[in-house]
Symmetry: C2
Subunit: 280 residues, 2 copies
């Protein structure tokens, strides 16, 4: 059998035209390369070069050999790349969600159920989530609507109620409930990665402005030191105690302010996640 290093040497010679130049690029001595080419000819029992006294050129057979060398080396590279990627995917659980709320609940449990795996997560649009599930970029996705399909497992997970978060001095502070219409036109502090919530508040409060903060900490800081209203939810109020500071939280009354979440995964991989699903 022809070992890979011989194919690499052949390919380098094909690329650089002389043994010396190719040897230079391969970081080996030139006589080594000379011997490699002779060895190749010996293994194949075929002449690959036209040899002049101080010049060596691939003949037609040699060019064919170089072509095969290229293909084989390409396939080896692909093998290494693909196997490493596959191994990564075997040890990584990627969860995509249409909103951060359900991740706050799910991620700790996932980390517990799959302690040997790296759990990563992302907020994405529902369309991208579904696409990503199909091409294995996501292992589990969380949608705000159920997804019915023969190859898909889908299970209702939890709900999330949106709250308005204001200082005690805000006019709405004494309300029991508040509607989007009540707050339209005001300026809000908002976390940048709220997923589908952004679509909802922009649609329901078309005249409002939203000061988006990339950093979750920044939202807390700004809310603490400014009078601007912001958002919260039953989930964030439970998981992030700090958000209560000096703020009054009033549930929105509109039906859109109550979201239902659905856990979705590929039916083939459902068994892998059963331990997690049962723990919910």
């Amino acid at each position: 059998m022809i070992e890979i290093y011989l194919l690499e040497h052949l390919l380098a010679f094909n690329e650089y035209g002389t043994l010396s130049a190719a040897a230079e690029h391969l970081n080996i001595a030139q006589p080594s390369l000379s011997r490699s080419m002779q060895k190749l000819e010996g293994i194949l029992n075929v002449t690959l070069f036209e040899r002049q006294k101080n010049r060596i050129i691939l003949n037609e057979t040699g060019k064919l050999a170089a072509e095969y060398a290229r293909r084989i080396l390409d396939m080896e590279s692909e093998m290494e790349r693909h196997i490493r990627a596959f191994d990564r995917s075997q040890h990584t659980l990627t969860i995509g969600s249409c909103a951060p709320g359900p991740l706050m609940v799910l991620l700790p449990k996932a980390a517990g159920s799959f302690s040997d795996m790296t759990v990563s997560s992302a907020i994405d649009t529902e369309d991208n989530l579904i696409k990503g599930l199909r091409n294995s970029e996501y292992n589990i996705i969380i949608l705000s609507k159920p997804l019915e399909h023969e190859d898909i497992y889908c299970k209702k997970y939890c709900t999330e109620q949106l709250y308005l978060s204001v200082t005690p001095f805000h006019p709405a502070a004494s309300y029991q409930k508040v509607s989007f219409a009540d707050m339209d036109g005001q300026n809000f502090i908002m976390y940048a990665h709220v997923g589908f919530w952004e679509d909802i508040v922009r649609e329901k409060m078309p005249h409002a402005k939203f000061f988006k903060q990339e950093d979750m900490e920044a939202v807390g800081e700004l809310a603490h030191f400014s009078d601007l209203p912001s958002f919260a939810s039953d989930i964030t109020l439970k998981t992030m105690e700090s958000r209560h500071n000096n703020r009054i939280h009033i549930p929105f009354s509109d039906s859109e302010s109550l979201a239902a979440y659905y856990l979705v995964c590929d039916l083939r991989s459902k068994t892998k996640f059963n331990s997690l699903f049962r723990a919910l």
Copy 2:
């Protein structure tokens, strides 16, 4: 890079299920194979096996690796096979003909023009000749009709006149000319590989019987020691003097008994054969 021997080892393990069995078939010691598998994992920086105390099994990543190993080794085998075949074809000139006559003239000249190449020849049907030229099984073919095509070079080569060969005691021995109809119904000795001539004599003498001889020598022997008529041509009479022994040769009068031959080759390879074509 992963050397080929590692892929061979992996594939053998995949096939035989245990290191010991695979090592046996590879004709290496079993610890060597154990180390090869560890080395593979090291190069890829990936776990390929589920290891129990005295058992080792490919995991999903390992199965994927074995699949790639199979593909790469298959491609290597194909490379070796193809290159050796190509090299052979580079040193072999294969001439196919619809009849043996023109080969008798052409082969010596081809051997002279291409002294560094092996010249081989075959008699075949015209359909097979044309197919064989297209897929490079033949480099040059000789047809009884011209072949017009944009990628094809075609040149009139020579003619061949068919003769009847009889003993002086045969009724036809005194004829100046003889027609196929005159001889229909008689028994002939015939060389088995006369190509398209067989179609012609069978068609023109539907009631004749032909005793086909695989061996060219056998035709001469039988003709010498029997009274049965046989065939000759202006070409065979010129190139094989022995055929004259005790025989009278009378030309057939039918138009079909005069064949015209055409040299045909691929237009791309015409330059390679120019020296031969000019020598004609």
